[in-house]
């Protein structure tokens, strides 16, 4: 298998080797190894329950692995919280957990990393600076932003994802993990988000794009890892595989054939 992650220094930005996670004796993930390099989009494909969300929660510090190793730029790390992953440059954007809808854009943009001025009990957020930065960074990614103090709930789903991506890039993330960013979106909205993924890639970020939509993954992916029942059934570069093969791998070829026969019988009555 050709290794296309050897971009830049040749060391992957984020590498998971032989990761396993058990929950009370249930193997949610078994011996999975994936990696992403700078300027590369790795697509994690899999059906519901394949272990995609367990894997990203391990990579983003929500869970700690039962066994296996996570490395950032070749050095072993142990994330104890989402914050520690964030500090190592691993930013994760979740579908529903990206933003606080009732909070203004600028409050969301700086959530957890508020720019402060003043000392002691007069330590306060520098709203003027924050608004200026948010306005500059977000006017490029959102069409409907009129005011950095408008609540996020006034933005569309695609725009919210885009804002979350812009936020991660602004705060110096080197790896972006995107959890089903396009699943709940219409075609136009999804296109908006996919464009930001390609932009992030062009800026030299490593992107892990989780999806069960092969069509969206195929549009932006450099490599594709397919997860099934907690194991990785294969990692392929773009020229090693076709879109149809990925689809079959994901759904489980034999399973889908059998379903096809069964439905055919039903149709005939």
């Amino acid at each position: 298998m050709r290794d296309s992650r050897e971009t830049g220094t040749g060391v992957p930005l984020l590498e998971a080797s032989d990761l396993s996670k058990d929950f009370a004796g249930v193997h949610a993930l078994r011996h999975v190894s994936v990696s992403v390099g700078a300027g590369e989009v790795l697509c994690l494909l899999g059906d519901n329950g394949a272990g995609k969300s367990t894997l990203i929660k391990l990579l983003s510090g929500v869970f700690t692995p039962s066994s296996g190793k996570i490395s950032v730029r070749g050095e072993g790390v142990r994330f104890t919280s989402p914050r520690s992953a964030l500090d190592a440059g691993i930013a994760t954007v979740y579908q529903d957990l990206a933003m606080v809808p009732m909070m203004p854009l600028v409050r969301n943009f700086f959530l957890g990393r508020e720019p402060v001025k003043g000392r002691g009990i007069f330590r306060r957020i520098d709203w003027a600076a924050a608004a200026e930065i948010a306005e500059k960074e977000l006017s490029r990614v959102t069409v409907s932003m009129r005011d950095p103090f408008q609540p996020v709930e006034t933005l569309s789903g695609g725009e919210r994802q885009s804002v979350a991506i812009a936020r991660a890039v602004y705060f110096g993330a080197s790896v972006l993990i995107l959890d089903e960013p396009t699943s709940a979106l219409g075609v136009r909205e999804a296109g908006h988000v996919l464009r930001h993924i390609v932009n992030a890639r062009a800026q030299g970020l490593g992107v892990i794009f989780i999806s069960h939509n092969v069509a969206h993954a195929w549009l932006v992916g450099d490599r594709f890892a397919v997860l099934k029942r907690g194991t990785c059934v294969g990692t392929y570069t773009r020229d090693e595989v076709t879109r149809e093969e990925l689809q079959t791998l994901m759904a489980g070829g034999a399973d889908i054939d059998e379903l096809g026969r069964e439905l055919e019988d039903l149709r005939r009555g």
């Binding site: 009732m102 409050r107 009129r146």
Partner: protein, 351 residues
């Protein structure tokens, strides 16, 4: 391409000076409500003494005492949690200080320190059980309400044979005569009682925290979308525990204040205060489900509470109707706030 020239497609942007419409703020509905309620009472009860200095001090004092507790209750509600134990904590602090001073002959200062120590434990208990064990705070604090009151009645009866501790040292000079603590809590500036200044001061502190500090940002996020807040590294557990401690502290402050005012500690002090505080907060535009609200709005809600509860006396209406009116206003305020929020967002989306 057809261009609508009547309005610019993109409003000119003033860099660094964000435009913030008054309508964006949660308290404007509460402000309008407060004005209307006050206006109604001014019209029907104005000639009966509602508008006099004495009448004004009367309702301001009622509002102020509730308002001291409302500020942290509001912050906690924005963070997505309730504290139903504040009433019991008011009773506990009053009785503890009264017992230590009257029966054990302690000085007021150390007795108050003990009351705050107990409040710290109550706040920590509420916060830790809610955050670490994941029990809804409604249940946790309802449970601690019963536990505090039960323990208080039992202990006080065993120690003193009664649930009512009288004989708090009076001073010929009146309420304000009991040392620094007495002056600070029950003194007057002109005819305005100290509680009013505590209320205003705490409201300003709450507003500062919510509007200007990172901690305030975390409060909104904790109530608005706890999952997102946690992912961004916000320590929402710590935020909530600190807020539970602050509600217990505010309740203790009020308990001591009322003890100094009345000269007696009673286990039934503060009964119903937990619901009055929630009502005032919600009338002030804070969402019961968290994530949205303001301390100034809550203060205005408290002002409405004070105006109605005292103003009704001046109208000649039987003041037993007070709670019924409060209920109607609570429901009305929630409905109005809901409509305002919907309209605002629709207007924003339509632009």
């Amino acid at each position: 391409m057809a261009v609508d020239t009547s309005t610019p497609a993109v409003a000119p942007k003033e860099v660094g000076r964000p435009r913030r419409s008054v309508l964006h703020r949660p308290e404007w509905g509460a402000f309008a409500g407060a004005l209307i309620v006050w206006g109604i009472f001014a019209v029907i009860a104005g000639h009966r003494g509602f508008l006099t200095g004495l009448g004004t001090v009367n309702y301001l004092q009622v509002a102020a005492e509730l308002g001291i507790v409302v500020v942290p209750v509001c912050l906690l509600m924005i963070a997505g949690e309730f504290d139903l134990s504040v009433g019991a904590t008011v009773a506990a602090s009053g009785v503890i200080v009264a017992y230590l001073v009257v029966n054990e002959k302690w000085d007021v200062g150390p007795a108050v320190a003990v009351a705050f120590g107990v409040a710290l434990l109550i706040g920590l208990f509420n916060g830790l059980v809610t955050v670490r064990l994941g029990v809804p705070s409604f249940i946790v604090t309802l449970a601690s309400h019963f536990m505090i009151l039960g323990a208080l009645v039992a202990y006080t009866t065993v120690l003193t044979g009664t649930t009512f501790i009288e004989g708090f040292p009076q001073n010929p000079a009146g309420n304000a005569g009991r040392g620094i603590i007495g002056h600070a809590l029950t003194g007057f500036v002109g005819t305005v009682p100290a509680s009013v200044f505590w209320w205003i001061g705490l409201t300003l502190v709450g507003t500062w925290i919510l509007g200007k500090t990172a901690f305030g940002n975390w409060i909104y996020a904790a109530g608005g979308n706890p999952g997102a807040a946690r992912n961004m590294g916000v320590p929402i557990g710590r935020v909530k525990i600190l807020l539970f401690i602050s509600t217990a502290f505010a309740a203790t402050l009020l308990g001591v204040l009322q003890l100094l005012e009345n000269g007696s500690g009673n286990v039934t002090n503060g009964v119903g205060l937990e619901f009055e505080a929630i009502a005032a907060t919600v009338i002030g535009g804070t969402l019961l489900t968290g994530g949205y609200g303001s301390a100034i709005g809550a203060a205005l809600g408290t002002f409405v509470f004070g105006v109605v509860s005292e103003g009704i006396f001046f109208t000649g209406i039987n003041s037993n109707w007070f709670q019924a009116i409060l209920g109607v206003m609570l429901l009305g305020a929630v409905l109005v706030n809901q409509v305002i929020r919907q309209q605002l967002n629709r207007a924003r989306n339509a632009r």
